[in-house]
């Protein structure tokens, strides 16, 4: 969190129409949008590049002139002037090249910056269904590496391609100006050259992609093996992992060799060699017959020699542009993810927090073809009630909470808040009234203060300290090296489980929700922590509807009623005493409670 750093331009959240997925038709459209994102810079760059490319040819022409002058007039003022004008044009060329390249570079870095932001904004907007199904580290690598690859396709690659093609074009025009047969050689040779370069790239491109994929496999396998080295060893699976690794590494070595074999022979270069040699030969013969063609000979050979740089640059550029497109496709696919349960809520419809929450025949599954996580749930949660939820793993209790937060919508059936259907209320308005304290607390690598204030944008200092006080978090926070300003480490790793939990509770207290959702399977370390937590939770549950997934006997006893989940269905509801009478299953669970077991 770097809230203190401010930029000159404030961030403006894009509205729906501004999202790239609505603004651009396809991955290609998005990729090429580079050209009209900063039109001024791109036009400036392209315009000036006409002059700079022309100026790049100038020294070769001046060289020819210099030799002719030297031959005719000897060491004269004219000769020296021509020589000095080589320096002059070089300086001019320097200025124009700088403008061309710098304008393009800035436009490209802007493109990279904006594309990265667009990717994040779009992906963040996707529902939890998306985020559950994908490894966040693969999204990260897209946002960083692959967006950078896209930019590399644009700059330097597209710029190099333009300047290469312009160079070829100007060279042809120059040759046309003095010798039509030279021009013909180029007019035939250059297109063949370009076609061959493109075909070369088409062969190498897929192999490079394969190369990257195989390397990723080696990296992934290695990472997995060494993360789980303890497991690998205790089951004596070193040999198996070893052969898995060697197979991956072998595969990679194969493709490196293959790539080397194919890319080593850059056939198009032969075309350029042939052109240069032919014009060299013809030039010599011409020169022998007509000494006045000295300047033509010198200039044309010099220009053709200077074109050699393309043998290196052009294929690389084409490959990069190609790779950029591949990356754009991959990113675009993630950005255009279609929510199987689209959000149809309209702005302005607000939940009625004065009413009860009603589940009416709600079914839910995390994905098509997956098991139902919830089946035919119908229940009323009166306003202000304390509800405990209990059930085995996979019984649907966590899913139940997530639906209440509108992280997901029911697959069928409805949830209403005070008579308003939840799917009609924008998710952000639901979440203004509902707060969840999760089982595994996620904290940001920011200060304790910022983590607590996360719940309320403009929280005052005293609100924050009060929340911390009520959550029993102030004591340990004040013991931290910089108290509330202490960065609590990457994902909060400097804190113990109980401390993280209390920060999360402070956060929830500050949010002051109408409905509190609590996944209370806390990590208990010692009785001291346990006691503190218990108090913090009491404070948190005060004066609001609370729905708590719990295993604590005390919470069960104190709840207005308990919902017992089993395999996605509600198997019983009632108070602790009622359930003990009516539900065999509850009785079994009750006996399994560690508190009860321990007491026997």
């Amino acid at each position: 969190m770097h809230a203190t750093q401010s930029s000159s331009i404030e961030y403006q959240r894009p509205d729906e129409a501004q999202l790239p997925t609505n603004k651009y038709r396809s991955a290609t459209h998005w990729y090429l949008s580079f050209f009209w994102r900063s039109p001024g810079l791109v036009i400036l760059s392209l315009g000036v590049s006409l002059i700079s490319t022309l100026l790049t040819l100038a020294p070769s022409l001046l060289l020819g002139m210099a030799f002719v002058t030297l031959k005719n007039d000897g060491f004269s003022t004219g000769f020296v002037l021509i020589c000095l004008s080589i320096i002059g044009t070089a300086l001019l060329n320097f200025v124009f090249t700088f403008i061309t390249n710098y304008a393009w570079t800035i436009a490209a870095f802007r493109f990279e910056r904006d594309a990265r932001q667009e990717f994040f904004d779009t992906v963040q907007n996707h529902s939890m269904g998306f985020h559950d199904s994908i490894d966040s580290s693969s999204l990260l690598s897209m946002a960083m590496n692959e967006v950078s690859q896209m930019r590399m396709g644009v700059n330097p690659s597209m710029r190099m391609m333009t300047s290469s093609v312009l160079s070829l074009l100007f060279t042809m025009i120059f040759f046309l100006s003095f010798n039509f047969s030279y021009f013909l050689i180029l007019a035939i040779g250059f297109p063949i050259y370009l076609i061959m370069v493109v075909r070369y790239a088409a062969v190498i491109g897929p192999i490079r992609e394969e190369l990257a994929q195989r390397l990723a496999v080696v990296t992934r396998d290695t990472q997995e093996i060494f993360r789980g080295i303890e497991v690998v060893r205790s089951f004596n699976q070193e040999d198996r992992e070893n052969s898995r690794f060697i197979k991956g590494s072998d595969n990679y070595a194969d493709i490196v060799t293959k790539e080397g074999r194919l890319s080593a022979f850059f056939w198009p270069a032969l075309v350029l060699i042939a052109i240069t040699a032919i014009i060299f030969g013809l030039g010599l013969v011409n020169l022998a017959n007509d000494p006045d063609t000295l300047d033509q000979f010198i200039s044309s050979v010099a220009i053709l020699l200077s074109l050699q740089f393309m043998n290196f640059m052009l294929p690389m550029s084409i490959l990069n542009v190609r790779a950029g497109k591949t990356n754009a496709d991959r990113i675009w696919e993630k950005m255009t993810w279609q929510d199987p349960v689209p959000d149809l809520a309209q702005e302005g419809i607000l939940p009625n927090w004065n009413g009860d929450i009603l589940f009416d025949h709600v079914d839910f599954q995390y994905g098509q073809n997956l098991k139902y996580a919830l089946k035919d749930i119908s229940i009323t949660i009166p306003k202000g009630s304390r509800v405990a939820v209990i059930g085995g793993p996979g019984s649907g209790k966590s899913t139940f909470l997530k639906l209440l937060l509108r992280l997901y919508d029911p697959s069928s059936g409805t949830i209403t808040i005070g008579g308003v259907s939840m799917t009609d209320i924008p998710a952000k308005d639901v979440r203004k009234g509902v707060t969840m304290v999760e089982q595994e607390v996620f904290l940001f690598s920011a200060s304790a203060r910022e983590n607590i204030a996360f719940a309320k944008e403009n929280a005052t200092e005293s609100e924050i300290t009060e929340a911390a006080l009520n959550a029993q978090a102030d004591v340990f926070i004040n013991k931290l090296p910089e108290q509330f300003d202490t960065k609590i480490g990457e994902r909060g790793s400097k804190l113990s489980g109980g401390q993280r939990q209390r920060i999360a509770i402070a956060r929830a207290i500050l949010a002051d929700p109408k409905v509190l959702l609590l996944d209370d399977s806390v990590s208990a370390i010692d009785s001291k922590t346990e006691l503190l937590l218990r108090r913090a939770l009491d404070k948190l549950m005060e004066n609001r509807t609370s729905i708590v997934v719990t295993q604590r006997l005390r919470t069960l006893l104190e709840s207005d009623f308990i919902i017992l989940f089993d395999k996605g269905e509600i198997s019983a509801t009632g108070t602790h005493e009622q359930l003990l009478e009516i539900s065999e299953q509850y009785k079994t669970i009750f006996k399994a409670l560690p508190e009860v077991v321990g007491g026997n």
Partner: protein
């Protein structure tokens, strides 16, 4: 995976290395030397291709002189020159192509060899090494560091051919006209200045850009991982704006970087042109009998070629450095000799007697700071023993000694009457089942994760076993049952589910001795009972060590070993130890008992949440008029309240006092 695709890798801060360049190159040659005929051939190819590149301008100049100077040009001679020129160009092309081809093969094979060796060393390395290093670092030893070696090799071949070309060009210049060679030397101060500039200002900007890019990456990682939190607090916009600020900042650095590079490369061209111009002037000024047209032209081609390689050299130098540093890190791994290894005369472990005996065992990670001292006790065959103690008591070390992840610094451990050091590591590890605190699951299906314990078992047998330990229901509840693919070590599974899977896996391996480091986090009631059930099945008939965190577990074991600061202080049954009223009973009342129902009853009697606010007035100096209201508060609570009060700022203290003593 590195995020090194940002600003130029070659400018990376070169890491410090601990070995001399000579040593490192020697190491490298161990791998490269295997392909020496190819390496030699490649060297020859580079040599001849460079020679070709040096000669080809000479042909042009010869042609020029022949065409211009001679009164009646010899067409045959010109044709010969044309053929030579064409042949030379083709020859250079072929030589380069074959060289690239050969080097690719050499690099691929060398890479594979180094990787294999590094991997093997790491797999066999002491567990202490793995505990010390982050898994990300270890992975990069195998992947990116080895990659860096081949990059270094590529750069080296490029640099050496460039160097060869520069030297060759210069020799040719001197042979043609020494004055023009002198002009070419003017390039050197400029190249020096450029190198200094790149190394100073350039490197600084590079560094800042990388750092800033890293910040964006870090923020992005966090925001993506915490997306559900941002959603539940409606703070998506905030997450976006933070990223936006960092993105803007990075863009600012990128602009500077862009300006630098866009200035530098055209500047090199300008200097080249200055040299060309000077060459022309000097060439023109010299009398015609001292220098021919062809030679002047040759001079212009050669001086233009002179500067670029020097620039490349200065840019590639840091890359070579970082490749050497990578070789250094790789060598660290390769030179590591594991402390724990199988003796020559080691035998397979016999499991007739699986009692475990600690005989005066001591262990120290750091010299003279023992983690365990004088530990002597025997666990009978089939006995279940709980190991308890505060953090830092040496519990985890004890467990690691049994599995022989480390060898004791002093004393011996016996299984039956076999010293651990006398049996093969493989057979030892196969007979001991270890369940670590953070169970590790592979990115594969649940089925395959369980099967890991015994790859030979059939699906049917596996299902049978899961039913037996009550894991079946558990796994069946997953979205795709046994075929659910796990990500990020079981993200989305409850800790109970993760534990059950590891228990099933261990059951399959059927170890005779079991070491279990119980997870500290408490499970929900249902999972707890299931895990308990599964554990009982697992423990049955096996000699078992449990680092216990759960009340239910310590109630279930035969004996309890209590450790304090590396010393075994108490050993006995739960009742015996409680009766002693020593370390164990203190531990029990602090860490375990509150998990039980007795404590719960106490709490229900205690006052409600108002305790917290009013308690702040229980301070010694206030004369505590309200003490009577909290008569049944434990000593524990009182200490806590006191501590709490002491930690307040004076203002807070004052505020609270006023609140409760109006």
């Amino acid at each position: 995976m590195s995020h090194g695709r940002g600003p130029g890798r070659f400018m990376m801060e070169s890491a410090k290395k601990t070995r001399s360049t000579k040593q490192l190159l020697g190491r490298l040659w161990v791998y490269l030397g295997k392909f020496w005929p190819w390496v030699l051939f490649s060297g020859l190819l580079i040599l001849v291709s460079t020679l070709g590149q040096i000669i080809s301008p000479l042909i042009i100049s010869q042609g020029l002189d022949a065409a211009v100077a001679t009164a009646s040009p010899d067409i045959e001679f010109l044709t010969t020159l044309f053929v030579i020129f064409l042949a030379l160009s083709l020859f250079v092309w072929v030589a380069n192509a074959f060289n690239t081809f050969i080097l690719a093969r050499v690099k691929a094979n060398m890479l594979h060899d180094v990787r294999k060796d590094v991997f093997n060393h790491l797999v066999k390395a002491d567990m202490s090494y793995h505990k010390k290093e982050q898994s990300g670092n270890i992975t990069s030893r195998v992947t990116s560091d080895t990659d860096e070696l081949t990059t270094g090799l590529t750069v080296f071949t490029q640099v050496s051919s460039q160097l060869l070309l520069t030297v060759g060009t210069f020799i040719l210049l001197v042979m043609t006209t020494w004055i023009i060679a002198g002009i070419a030397l003017l390039a050197i101060p400029f190249a020096y200045f450029l190198a200094r500039f790149l190394g100073g200002y350039g490197r600084r900007i590079m560094y800042q850009t990388r750092k800033s890019y890293g910040e964006v990456s870090g923020q992005m990682a966090e925001s993506l991982a915490g997306v559900s939190i941002a959603k539940s607090f409606n703070r998506e916009e905030w997450a976006s704006s933070i990223l936006y600020d960092l993105n803007m900042k990075t863009y600012g650095y990128y602009k500077q970087l862009g300006a630098l590079f866009n200035f530098l490369f055209p500047a090199v061209s300008v200097v080249s042109m200055v040299l060309v111009s000077f060459t022309l002037i000097v060439g023109g000024w010299l009398p015609a009998n001292a220098i021919s047209f062809g030679e002047i032209y040759l001079g212009t081609i050669l001086v233009e070629r002179f500067l670029r390689p020097i620039l490349h050299l200065s840019m590639f130098y840091p890359q070579l450095q970082s490749s050497l540093a990578a070789m250094d890190r790789v060598t660290d791994v390769l030179e590591q000799v594991p402390n724990v290894k199988t003796k020559h005369d080691a035998t397979k472990i016999s499991l007739e007697d699986t009692s475990v005996k600690f005989d005066n065992v001591a262990y120290e990670y750091v010299k003279d700071t023992p983690v365990l001292e004088n530990v002597s006790f025997t666990v009978k065959q089939g006995e279940k023993i709980a190991i308890v103690g505060h953090t830092g008591a040496g519990k985890t070390t004890l467990a690691a000694l049994i599995t022989r992840f480390y060898d004791p610094t002093n004393g011996n451990i016996f299984i039956g009457n076999q010293n651990l050091k006398d049996v093969t590591l493989n057979s030892l590890q196969r007979s001991i089942g270890l369940i670590p605190q953070e169970p590790y699951l592979f990115a594969d299906t649940v089925l395959e994760n369980i099967r890991y314990g015994n790859p030979e078992i059939s699906d049917g047998e596996l299902y049978e076993l899961c039913k037996l330990i009550g894991a079946d229901d558990f796994i069946d509840a997953l979205p795709n049952g046994y075929d659910t693919v796990l990500q990020e070590s079981g993200k989305g599974l409850s800790s109970g589910q993760r534990q059950i899977i590891t228990i099933a896996r261990t059951m399959l391996a059927d170890p005779k001795i079991l070491v279990l480091d119980e997870a500290t986090s408490r499970l929900d009631a249902y999972s707890e009972s299931l895990v308990q059930l599964a554990q009982q099945a697992l423990f049955k008939g096996r000699t078992t060590f449990v680092i216990a965190h759960r009340l239910t577990t310590i109630r279930d074991v035969d004996r309890i070993a209590v450790f304090e600061k590396g010393i075994l202080v108490e050993l006995g049954t739960h009742e015996e130890l409680l009766a002693k009223d020593g370390v164990y009973s203190e531990l029990y009342y602090t860490y375990y008992r509150h998990q039980g129902i007795e404590e719960l009853k106490d709490v229900r009697k205690a006052p409600d949440s108002s305790v917290i606010s009013s308690s702040s007035s229980i301070m010694p100096e206030s004369g505590s008029p309200m003490m009577h209201g909290h008569a049944n508060m434990s000593t524990e609570d009182r200490t806590l309240m006191k501590e709490r009060f002491e930690n307040m700022s004076p203002e807070e203290r004052k505020k609270l006092r006023e609140k409760f003593h109006p």
